[in-house]
Amino acid sequence: MRTRKGTQMLRTILARRTHTAFQDTPVPESALNHILSAGMLAPTRFHQRPWHFIILRDAEVKQEIASALRLKPSLAGAPIWIAVVAEEDGPAAWDLDAAAAAQSMLIAATALGLGSAWLMPWLGNPDALGRVEQLLGLPANVHLAMILAVGFPAEELPAHREEEVYESSRVHLEQVRHAPSNAPAC
């Protein structure tokens, strides 16, 4: 059944695009609080809530991290960066909990008319990750999961199109049909 709210939500989800250039206009504190709340309202495994959020506003700090990670310099121009970090919580699910919170925050940011980017350019580069974690002053049991750049976008990007996003080849009914191999792994 198609509901107004459902249509609106899908529109927001499709409107989320990765932005790499931002206006200087500051992000209102009320918007930032909504975004942070959206992160903390995401589900976590066994309700462990392993995440913390570090707000980075200082232009020099952002530039330093951006150059250490070889990010596109314009990303440092986002007025707010949110570093999502998480404490190890027994069975290693902190990365999943952090990612769910991050996505919830991106949807909230989109709903508030803000642009965003999900950054984790240190994959496969533990040295770069270590440098940024040190800069953030993280204790040993706390890991950096991702950085979200948030700000009003320098240019409006068109929303994803529903008919392009939905790929029926990825949807299987009752069993995997068009898999690379014919036999299951077990």
């Binding site: 059944m1 198609r2 509901t3 709210k5 459902g6 939500m9 899908l10 989800i13 409107a15 989320r16 990765t18 609080n33 942070l36 709340s37 959206a38 903390m40 309202l41 995401a42 589900p43 495994r45 809530r49 913390h52 959020f53 570090i54 707000i55 700090v61 290693a92 699910a93 990365d95 909990d97 990612a99 769910a100 991050a102 996505q103 919830s104 991106l106 949807i107 909230a108 989109t110 508030l112 999900w118 984790m120 994959l123 953030l136 002053g137 204790p139 999961a145 996003v165 790929e167 990825r170 949807v171 299987h172 009914l173 009752e174 069993q175 995997v176 898999a179 690379p180 299951p184 792994a185």
Partner: protein, 190 residues
């Protein structure tokens, strides 16, 4: 588009569903939301299996020892990852599940995330692998049980203590003393 904030507050984990069926159109919208999630370098490591067969749901639920009521949900969606497609498949799939939960909530449906990723070679994984025909190189990341809710749970109210202790300014340990937003007065006005 502000109402997405309201939906985020309304999303709750549900256990009890009615037996009312969920249309293919609804499933397609849920999976569109899933596939609109960001993924590292746009690699989209995800695949989905839509499960309606009651016997299959029951068998898998038993093998994973999840709450039997969850098997009553008319549809389970298995979220699978092609591990070779992306080193960030765990996070990518997590974002896709989150989108699905929010979309379901907005549509008035209940959706519950059943995490399975860290239980390799458990009876549940083996049962699911055989039944769903999961190929070599793919991981069963999670199930999402979807149905019409048979219980109502109030929207989340964020604990102000959690809000104030989890936000740091500039560096770990610089706690930020800001009250959480007052949802009841701001949510859903537009």
């Amino acid at each position: 588009m502000y109402s997405a904030i309201e939906v985020i507050q309304q999303r709750r984990t549900l256990r009890r569903f009615t037996t009312a069926n969920i249309s293919d159109d609804d499933i397609q919208r849920l999976l569109t939301a899933a596939m609109a999630a960001p993924s590292l370098m746009g690699r989209k490591p995800w695949h989905f299996v839509v499960i309606r067969d009651a016997e299959v749901k029951k068998r898998i639920a038993e093998a994973f020892r999840v709450h039997p009521q969850l098997a009553e949900a008319p549809v389970w969606i298995a979220f699978l990852a092609d591990v070779s497609a992306s080193p960030a498949w765990r996070m990518d799939l997590s974002a896709a599940v989150m989108n699905t939960l929010l979309q379901a909530t907005a549509m008035g449906l209940g959706a519950t995330w059943i995490g399975t990723v860290d239980s390799k070679w458990t009876p549940g994984q083996v049962e699911a692998c055989r039944t769903l025909y999961i190929p070599e190189g793919w991981e069963l990341f999670a199930f999402v049980a979807v149905g019409k809710p048979a219980e109502q749970r109030p929207p989340h109210v964020l604990d102000p203590y959690v809000f104030s202790t989890r936000v740091h300014e500039g560096k770990w340990g610089n706690r930020r003393q800001v009250p959480s937003p007052q949802y009841h007065s701001e949510g859903g006005k537009q």
